[in-house]
């Protein structure tokens, strides 16, 4: 009943563009097996998942995803050698019947203050009892449970019942990091939809338009194409482009100014499309200063993209990466990062941050990375944000994003 899809018109548009529609059953089976194989390797009886991205990954079900990010009322228990149980929000049990990897749907319990008021501990006790019973029934006896998000009340209630808690975030990231060909097929459709919405924003990019009005076009284009939300509000113009991270405002973009944006978009099929572009308002020629920062950002993207191939280590990418001097230019936090259902593992930090923040990993075929650049002078003036989404293949990499990187 609740099986959501793009609809015939969008499917026809994607097929006409030479794209293949994904086999969603194959995606569900592939993902569940990825999770279980991680659970086996970690010696866990089950994973208890609250993050809606992790629930979507393991079960292909959704319900009020953003709301559940701050109202933890919906969760899934994935047994290593047992059932997948979705604990659904009140009255929503019928929402998950389309997914053949879901074995059982039960009403969820919440001990948050909003739901439980002064009864939090009583409700947490009942909640923990149900989880512990499932572990007793389907586990091997040591009650080792991986959790991706768990507040102190729940943690204490489970530990009181002898449940041993380990971190599910790490193993879910390890599961998610290698995409199947069907997942990539879905992501290609999502990129097509995102770039169609970007083209609509481009058409609305006239001198005098507010940042918010432009941003609204991207939102509408995403929603109308089976997309779900945008994670951030990163669209800024003129002096607001540097330093980066200023959120979209009521400022009007003037002719001759730069405007940069980062899509951070949860698109069709729940795939994240995370690319950035910077455009010159009103056409014409960029000033030398605009051209300088743009060409450095473009060079950073081009040179660092070349370092991404199977077998490359994160440390090696960091060592060999190119970016402008951090003494002279404001920069972006990471050189590249993984992407799938949202920003994912791994993160590639700058050389300057490597010792304090960096960790190593090896790129594998099937991983999708976003290669980043922001360049804005520390002495002021406008900045340029660019970002490309690439697939690590068996032999190198392939760009998934196709929209031009040019300013005009």
């Amino acid at each position: 009943m609740h099986s959501l899809g793009p609809g015939a018109d969008l499917e026809a548009e994607w097929v006409a563009a030479g794209l293949r529609l994904p086999d969603r059953t194959a995606i569900r089976r592939y993902r569940l097996e990825r999770v279980r194989s991680q659970l086996r390797a970690a010696g866990c009886d089950a994973a208890l998942l609250y993050d809606p991205m992790n629930i979507r990954y393991a079960t292909d079900t959704t319900n009020m995803s953003i709301w559940t990010m701050h109202n933890p009322v919906r969760y899934a228990l994935v047994a290593t050698d047992g059932p997948v149980v979705v604990f659904e929000f009140s009255k929503g049990e019928f929402l998950d019947t389309h997914s053949e990897v879901v074995d059982e749907i039960r009403p969820g319990l919440s001990y948050t203050y909003f739901y439980a008021g002064t009864r939090a501990e009583e409700i947490a006790d009942g909640w923990a009892g149900e989880i512990a019973d499932l572990l007793g029934e389907h586990g091997r006896g040591d009650r080792r449970l991986a959790v991706d998000r768990l507040d102190p009340i729940g943690m204490r209630a489970l530990e009181d019942r002898g449940v041993v808690l380990v971190d599910a975030c790490a193993l879910m990231e390890e599961a998610r990091v290698v995409k199947s060909s069907e997942e990539i097929a879905a992501m290609r459709c999502a990129v097509h939809a995102c770039e169609a919405a970007i083209a609509e924003m481009r058409a609305a990019f006239e001198p005098g338009v507010t940042e918010m009005a432009l941003w609204s076009v991207l939102h509408a284009g995403n929603i109308a194409r089976y997309g779900e939300w945008i994670e951030t509000r990163l669209l800024a113009s003129g002096p607001r482009t540097n330093p980066w991270y200023q959120e979209v405002s009521s400022r009007r973009v003037q002719a001759g100014e730069l405007m940069g944006f980062d899509t951070d978009m949860i698109c069709a099929y729940g795939a994240c499309v995370d690319i950035s572009r910077t455009w010159l308002c009103g056409g014409g020629r960029p000033t030398p200063a605009q051209h300088d920062v743009w060409s450095m950002a473009a060079e950073q993207i081009e040179r660092n993209t070349e370092l991404h191939y199977p077998g490359a280590s994160v440390h090696e990418i960091v060592e060999r990466s190119w970016y402008p001097s951090l003494d002279e230019y404001n920069y972006y936090t990471v050189l590249s990062h993984g992407v799938g259902l949202c920003d994912e593992y791994p993160s590639v930090f700058t050389r300057e941050r490597w010792g304090r923040h960096g960790y190593d990993a090896e790129l594998q075929p099937g991983t999708v990375m976003c290669v980043e650049a922001f360049v804005g002078s520390k002495s002021g003036g406008e900045g340029v944000k660019l970002e490309e989404q690439i697939l690590i293949t068996e032999t190198g990499h392939e760009r998934l994003s196709t929209y031009s990187l040019d300013l005009v």
Partner: protein, 409 residues
């Protein structure tokens, strides 16, 4: 620099916003003191915004806990923000200091998670102990979101952790006049988006095309995000809680939606309307359901008085005739609203004993009054919801968007 989270409005608008932000911080600190806490640590971006007025990649932050606010029982906030985001706190005087956040989620830390959690806990413990002589016993810290790594790392220090969700909810529940003024701005903007959506509604368009109109106008008005995707049509309205889809809306279909919008200035707008699509006459069943939902909302708004207990609200709440009401499709009579959906929650009388909790309705609360008429086995449902302010004498309706004349006839 125009502060993040500011809708503009010039110097007078900025002064009012700053006063509101400082007042909210004071409310949060009063609640920390009432719970015997030395400080609070807040990860929920709605709580961070409440305490500081700042926002930064909020939806992302909801699932990637990468920024947090340390709120001492007195004094200004130390905001731990994303790297290179110090400039985002300019114009928000509740923030006394900005530091780079130390996070321990796997995407950032890989194999070094415990090392990071240890570093994070040491810094928090240091802030908690700042200015106090050693040997004065443990410090009490309220935290609204804390995963096992963090709780264990704090356990290495003399820190007692209590639920910050309760404290934040109790601080947020009573709104100042400035907050109500901000909420009215958010409502007006959202209602322009609803109006654009009603004007655009035509048989032949998909649900997601219609929902896109709502996003386009609300975001252009300066709104934030939509918490849910609850817009459905025809047979997808019942049971309720299905998400917006590619279904093509037909003439004579009911179209129902719930805004669940975090609007301009960070204030939530949570209202629901149901419309009739196209140039059609409503069926008797559609009119009957609509009238029942409308009556439920109106009578429950009239019922609300300051001083009532939640148990009384639940017990006395009007509900539609049994054949339209059972089994109840929506368990909620009213719930609170502010910078998001919040305390309190008052459930139906059937559920109050098992799921409910008690409390008192007070002036300054904003409540959403709900109705869902979704008869079992029938093709369609009607969803209505109004946003009201509890005053000294009753309930004032804040939402102004009209009900459907076609369905009320």
């Amino acid at each position: 620099m125009q502060p993040n989270g500011s809708a503009g409005g010039g110097r007078a608008g900025d002064a009012a916003r700053v006063a509101m932000e400082l007042d909210r911080l004071a409310r949060l600190q009063a609640e920390l003191v009432a719970h015997g806490c030395d400080a609070g640590l807040f990860y929920d971006p709605n709580n961070i915004r409440y305490a500081t007025g700042t926002s930064n990649m909020d939806v992302y932050v909801l699932h990637i806990p990468c920024r947090y606010a340390f709120v001492p029982a007195e004094g200004t906030v130390t905001l731990f923000d994303f790297k290179a985001c110090e400039h985002l706190s300019e114009g928000h005087p509740a923030v006394g200091e900005v530091r780079e956040a130390t996070n321990w989620f796997h995407f950032f830390t890989g194999s070094r998670t415990e090392e990071y959690a240890g570093r994070w806990a040491a810094e928090v413990a240091d802030l908690l102990g700042a200015g106090r002589p050693p040997g004065h016993g443990s410090k009490r810290l309220a935290v609204d979101r804390l995963d096992p790594y963090g709780l264990r790392a704090l356990g290495q220090h003399d820190v007692e952790v209590v639920d910050g969700g309760e404290i934040a909810n109790l601080a947020r529940v009573i709104k100042s006049d400035a907050e109500i003024a901000a909420m009215r701005v958010a409502l007006a903007a959202c209602e322009r988006a609803i109006g654009a959506m009603e004007a655009a509604l035509k048989p032949g368009m998909t649900e997601q095309e219609l929902w896109a109109v709502m996003h386009r106008i609300a975001i252009a008005e300066g709104g934030g995000w939509f918490e849910t995707r609850l817009l459905t049509s025809g047979p997808r309205t019942n049971p309720w809680f299905q998400e917006c889809s590619d279904r093509v809306i037909g003439t004579g279909d009911l179209v129902a939606f719930d805004t669940d919008h975090i609007g301009v200035g960070g204030y939530a707008v949570d209202i629901s309307r149901t419309w009739l699509a196209g140039d059609a006459r409503p069926t008797t069943e559609q009119r009957t359901m609509y009238a029942a939902a409308h009556e439920q909302v109106q009578r429950n708004i009239e019922m609300l008085q300051p001083g009532m207990t939640f148990a009384e609200v639940s017990e006395r709440a009007h509900r539609p005739p049994d054949e339209l009401h059972f089994p109840p499709g929506n368990a909620v009579v009213v719930h609170g609203l502010g910078v998001s959906n919040e305390y309190p929650l008052v459930v139906n009388r059937e559920l109050f004993g098992t799921d409910g909790y008690d409390g008192v309705v007070e002036p300054g609360m904003v409540l959403c009054v709900e109705s869902l008429v979704a008869p079992a086995g029938r093709p369609e449902a009607v969803k209505l919801e109004e946003q009201v302010l509890i005053t000294e004498t009753g309930a004032e309706v804040l939402s102004a968007y009209p009900f459907s004349e076609a369905l009320l006839d």
